[in-house]
Subunit: 174 residues, 4 copies
């Protein structure tokens, strides 16, 4: 069961759409997966689930348990202000010790409106995950100028879809 | 008026204490400064001040205005999970366009319980600030093993204090 | 006198061409500049100018003196294998102590054949320069797909030329 | 056969000594390994084995073949000027296409005289290897203040030795 984490809490995000398409790619490969939404975190978790409240917020814990039970992850990461969304890091900052990612494996997908494709965001996130002891698949597709490569809510750029498929196959055998 | 930003919302944080001592160093140099607390952000700002709510949360805006009115900043940045605190990035993710840091200047102070001194955290933050067009002072003290270098709530390591003083002088003339 | 460093020793490099055009932009602003070529380093400098030979290789020292006498720099940095060229770092590894960049200022220009524009290369180089105490201009143009944006040996993409001009102006007043 | 790459060409380097001790740890685990020395590269390879000379320098090719024939690597990486040694990147810049590291696996060991332990150097190198499609073990020991933790030519700090042993075991099963 691969956990696909939508890397933002923005409503109706492109990241969610890409995550859904990623799930379909995995389905075609007969691999089960589940989406995890940061938008389901309690609104105030940054103040009620960290530090002295670590582990005490039930609504946070619910999402955290979903994450914790996985062994392989896909993180769909939109570029915000030149890096990953703050909420994704805050979610990680709320995890209890020993951390939930140690010795596990993940794949990163970068998304941007601009030309960067989230390469710096993925570099930063790799540092964080390596710090936590989680392996990161070397192959990290950068989906730049994402809006120009979608039709309605669907990613239509064939190269991008091929990159995601290639990554999904690598993740399954990682 | 230099704005000193306490880089976490943790209560009674070491970062707050270091920020207060930084302010004293500036006072000794006859330079005015003001502390800005991320802990004063509204608890739910990650859900109520970003994206479609950008600029609409009055309590967020209050802290944002404090930041926006500055031209020089000190960021006191504790290392959480190998990078900067997520809340600091979420605060930035809520800033309105054009961003409040463009063409301004800042200094970074890294803090860690472990031996790293927040060097990776400051590298990541530098990427974000450069993306936003804010200059970052090259000299970035790394206050490692911070607990061992404090006495009560006071930083007592003389080398660390000298580093902060040197940085403060560089920032004033930056 | 701004020193423009061609960030590779590749013959007839695009980086050299961009450096020459950068010099012209500075000329139009009545600002003197000089190109420095890593290709003029002695072929074996990585083995004869570093460590126990530090400061002893006259041909290396000649280029080093050219660099050392400057106070402001432009580094034109092509992306090789996802980062800056190794030779640029080896040149830095040969500098004598105290390093030649401390308290000086520089601007970075990233170049790539692919879509990245050297953003990771410039992030890495920023870390190195900050370590050495040199300030780095926040504004770092990324000239992606460079071959498609040149006509013969000339950069013709107007946006790219505007970015370089904007950066040159910022560097002069930095 | 694990290839252990001494990440510098400095003579009698600490990195070489650590590499030899790493080999002994692997021997104790009945795992064969081989040291590869960048110091055996031809002195002028940065000028005679890259770009238009790519693949044409026999002495470079000899070292390159040693590397290419491996599938798992340990890189012992001393921190020079806040990042990895330039020569290591230049060696990579001379590799022929398709690159020799794609879909392979490596472990990184950071070494520093100062307190950093090469964390930024390893972050940069991870970016490069991920760009090239090589997986990097998440666990990256940082051997800070290395001189204080050696006795003669031998690493004697037990914690450091345990970290290397733990990494070696992880690499074998990676």
């Amino acid at each position: 069961m691969i956990k696909i984490i939508v890397g933002t809490n923005r409503k109706n995000s492109v990241s969610e759409q890409i995550s859904l398409q990623y799930q379909q790619l995995l389905e075609q490969m007969k691999v089960a997966s589940e989406l995890i939404y940061l938008s389901e975190l309690p609104d105030d978790f940054v103040f009620t689930a960290l530090y002295e409240n670590n582990g005490k917020n039930h609504a946070y814990n619910k999402v955290h348990e979903q994450v914790k039970s996985g062994t392989k992850y896909v993180f769909v990461v939109p570029e915000y202000n030149g890096s990953y969304p703050g909420i994704l890091k805050s979610f990680i900052d709320g995890m209890t010790y020993p951390n939930s990612f140690r010795h596990k494996k993940c794949a990163l997908v970068g998304i941007s409106s601009g030309v960067g494709g989230g390469s710096i965001a993925m570099s930063h996130l790799t540092d964080v995950f390596h710090y936590l002891g989680m392996h990161v698949l070397a192959f990290k597709p950068r989906l730049a100028k994402i809006e120009e490569n979608m039709s309605g809510n669907l990613l239509t750029n064939r190269l991008y879809l091929d990159l995601l498929r290639e990554q999904a196959e690598l993740l399954v055998s990682f």
